[in-house]
């Protein structure tokens, strides 16, 4: 098995709905985020491993109504983002259903080359999204 750094095509923009889009972020400063929601996908096939996506909440207060609308939207948005990235990666892969983790975990992008950052733009606000790739190419 050959270990390679993930070289997935970085999507500049994905429009999930007419008023919801994901766009790439190019921050000069690294991001440290706490109190997050995570959704993980297992990848099998030509690439094997996990893609972990993080919705950075950073202590934002969400009421029940916000959670009910935001969490499923985020999960589906990540399903679309990861699916589209892998679709362009070459090779043949399959993707597991998303596993939602409600356990808060802190994430930093400092010195990480296996990370891409996005902005999830909603009608009234936006959230930072961090995607981490732990993938190996199977030769």
């Amino acid at each position: 098995m050959e270990v390679l750094a993930p070289n997935l095509s970085l999507l500049k923009e994905v429009r999930i709905l007419s008023d919801v889009r994901l766009i790439t972020r190019h921050d000069l400063n690294h991001i440290e985020s706490n109190d997050n929601l995570q959704v993980q996908f297992e990848v099998k096939g030509s690439w094997q491993g996990f893609v972990t996506t993080t919705l950075c909440l950073d202590g934002r207060e969400l009421n029940d109504s916000d959670r009910k609308s935001l969490y499923p939207l985020f999960t589906e948005a990540m399903n679309i983002l990861v699916g589209r990235q892998l679709s362009h990666s070459g090779g043949e892969v399959t993707l597991s259903p998303p596993k939602v983790r409600m356990i808060p975990r802190s994430v930093t992008t400092k010195g990480r080359s296996d990370i891409q950052t996005y902005e999830l733009e909603l009608a009234t606000t936006s959230y930072t999204v961090i995607t981490e790739y732990s993938l190996m190419a199977v030769s």
């Binding site: 589906e76 399903n79 679309i80 990861v82 699916g83 589209r84 259903p97």
Partner: protein
Amino acid sequence: MRGGPFYFLPLLPISFKFDILFSMKDKRADLKIVVVDDSEFSRQLIRGMLEEEGFKVSAEADGAEAALAVIKDTVPQVVITDIVMPQISGIELTEKITQNFNDIAVIVISSLAQEHIVLEAIGAGARDFLAKPIQKQQLVDSLDKVIKDLN
């Protein structure tokens, strides 16, 4: 009288097209559709798109097993199913539907749109494959084709 055909002939196809359009929209509400996706968000999204265009969703299911039970009950003309679902995938569901219900058209949707997956879906008997995020017009066109074939 030479001008007669010049004025009338171009009008005929236009009125004919309107007839088709109106009859198609009338028939949309009669189409029995089942939507299968483990994501409630995704099901609601599809339902919303379809209702905006005059379709009605007869039933929904959050997985393949539930879908098969719903299909037996409602006997739909169309099943719209996601591929990535726990336990039984949308591809396996498509195979089961096409083996057991000959007249049901299956439209497969997936965020992962690699060639091998599209071929698997078509090989399993899917009538159409749509990549997520779903474009409303693509979904409508696909369903309108089903209506045309039924008639």
